[in-house]
Amino acid sequence: MKVEDAIVAEKTVVNRRDFLKAGGAGLVVLFWVGPLKAFQQPYTEAPPSIPTDFNAFLQIKPDNTITCFVGRVELGQGPKTALAQLVAEELDVPFDAIDMVMVDTDVCPWDMGTFGSLSIRVLGPILRGASAEARAVLLKMAADQFGAPVARLQVSDGVITDPTQGKRVTYGTLVQGKRIEKHLGKTPLKTVSAFKVMGKSPQRKDAIEKVTGKAQFAGDVTVPGMVYARILRSPAHGAKLKSADTSAAEKMPGAQVLKDGDLIAVIHERPDLADKALGLIKAEYDRPQTGLDDKTIFDHLVRNAQPPKVIAESGTVESADKTANSIENTYVQSYCSHAAIETHSALAQIQGNKVTVWAATQIPFRLRDLVAQTLGFPKANVRVIASYVGGAFGGKTNPQNCLEAVRLAKLVGKPVQLVYRRDEDFFNERFRPAAVVKIRSALTNGQITSWDYTVYAAGDGGAATFYDIPNQRTTAVPVSAIAWQKQDTAGGLHPFNVGPWRMPGTLTNTFARESQMDLLATKAGVDPVEFRLQHLSDKRMRRVLEAATKQFGWKPAKPPTGKGVGVACGTTYKTYVATVAQVALDKSTGKVRVEHVVTAVDAGVIVNPDGTRQQVEGCITMGIGSALSEEVGFSNGEMHTRNFDSYEIPRFSTMPTMEVVLIDNPDLAPDAIAEPPVITVPAAIANAVSDAIGTRLFQLPMTPPRILQALKQS
């Protein structure tokens, strides 16, 4: 690598427009065009002020601090901390010297969105590579300045020294006045043994702001002249507005009624008074009678879902099936909400032909395009700022609230803040889809010989089995926009919107598969852990299963034992998970208490152990909710689930003791951690419940009435 190649002429940069204006002296820009399409601009139209072919920028300031610009959003999952660790490690600077600038579409590089546990497993290698290459460029610059070979130089805390000549120079001094860009070469990354910052758990970069109330969420942002909006919502999905009398609302001092086609809203300078004005609107609707509710939905899904296709097959399922004892079961799972504590929130400000949206979003760049489309503005005139987001879990891929805010801002000619009420958030949710799984499997001499798996509505995530079964077939509909549409849209299936929820499909499929595995183990009269190991040649899966059961102190026994212990395995992306759960069950009330959960995770190299534990703990918590209480109630398009009294998420008294076992796997690159550990939790709890009561529940969540019913039938 030559320094001349790396330092490009000013004119090149001018061609890219004067991005990072605020950079001033000492700007180093790093770069690469990654091989990963996911992180490249999907269209040719240039964004307003940043290059299209770069995935990250580093700015080295004269004081030797480094600013890293990324298009990722801090949803709570910790990228602000973990990505800074990657940069600090490869650049050889202190962790505290890194300042992360997260999403502002005017200054951060394009990014597809913060979902799919992508930050570490996909962006991570790119950011590390860019940082390592930056370090190499800086070393070469110092070598030229010192007249010394690179090999002789040492670097520590952003200072390069030549011990022979006794010379030293800081990164900040070296790069003063220079702009450097570079496409990613093949600079080697540090090995695990050389890590100083990775593998540690520094204080979260967002911690101080979050404990002092200074962290700004979208609903906390204010701009001069701003008004608060409330939107008239129909009482049920599919309901048609017949009439709306807005006269009383219009007479309320300070209130203004806005109408734009199907959108009726009130605005006021105070949010609670906008609420009051909304309450004055008298609206009548035609309500649909779909006959669909939270009980009839499963038959509807099987009858009307897109016909699933075979996505994986080996051996011959039919013939094998006929030769053995077979068990056939249907597993179902209700709709489930993301239920982030922050409701969907946005502030939209239109100034002339430009618009800025402060948004609680996981998809800032996609949102920018949608806002442009909604307003008829060029994309270059749309700026999206995703400040801290108060929990997302997939739910904030829904742009509806932001698009409503920009429409209202345009209508009224003032900045509009739109923060959903809780019932509005539940109404407009894109829920985790209700789903149905049918499994027929056969056992011959204690071995599973046939496995025929069909899933409706959940998607194919985690549907294909990893157990060694000679004859197997997986039938599923891949997750697609069509599969996730409302009934009243073309090809739609669901009575309201559904969408991705922390590891789409995989939690459902893991629940079904691992429940069936336990039934087969029971039929074979073999301990469930032993039974799984007999069908597992995947070494990483065996390792997490053995690690979790060892930590738990699993005692092999023929199921059911009556002790209330259960196990489940799962894998997604390249992360492996095993969970053991212990429950206590009150047979008179049907109430389950999860007492102890052990989860072992192999996610390759761990960037931040405590941050990883936080994600696993969060997944265990959400998994308990999915297992025992979280369920969306509805009938004829009307939501019965409207607030936290009718939608029960886990709370302090719900929590079990949790143990997290992180598998040390230094040979593998860091992989996904924000989602995978959730998938095994409901399955392990379901198996523990069955172990306790000797009978099985085939529906999630396992609410007290369902448990009482199962006990009655057994």
Partner: protein
């Protein structure tokens, strides 16, 4: 009825002229510019809006502003003094007792009220007292640990 309501806000005499039936949370957030208390449910079910009124934890989303006339109101913004984190804030930082951070101000204020009433709470007492404050990210265990740590640090000398 619109009238002037006087109270002590984070140690300072404060007056607001508002309809006295308005909700305390929204007066704090949109009239007084204090956005640390969050809107989560609007029905006193989640605790994100928790503030302290005369040493008691109060759900500001479900209280009319007239109820605080003449009282002492403490919000998350008033907890740190002279740039020093309060021991509870310090404990939350120390335990990484937050992910998204949206419930955090309410959690800290609720815990503050607990330690005022019960300087040495047991684990069971913490869980019982905090149970109606919801966290979706699953930080419960860390929050309990942070409160225990802060209780040990303050030794009953809460300020």
């Amino acid at each position: 009825m619109e009238r002037t309501i006087a109270f002590n806000l984070n140690g300072k005499k404060t007056q607001v002229k508002v309809d006295d039936e308005r909700t305390l949370l929204w007066v704090l957030r949109s009239d007084l510019g204090l956005t640390g208390a969050k809107f989560g449910c609007g029905a006193a079910l989640c605790g994100s809006c928790t503030v302290i009124v005369d040493k008691e934890a109060v759900r500001s989303c479900s209280v009319p502003v007239k109820d605080i006339a003449g009282k002492r109101l403490l919000t998350i913004e008033g907890l740190s003094k002279n740039g020093q984190l309060h021991p509870l804030q310090d404990a939350f930082v120390h335990h990484n007792a937050m992910q998204c951070g949206f419930c955090t101000p309410g959690m800290i204020m609720k815990a503050y009220a607990l330690l005022l009433q019960n300087p040495k709470p047991t684990r069971a007492e913490i869980i019982r007292y905090m149970d109606d404050n919801l966290c979706r990210c699953g930080g419960h265990e860390r929050i309990v640990a942070a409160i225990q740590y802060a209780a040990a640090a303050t030794k009953g000398r809460m300020s």
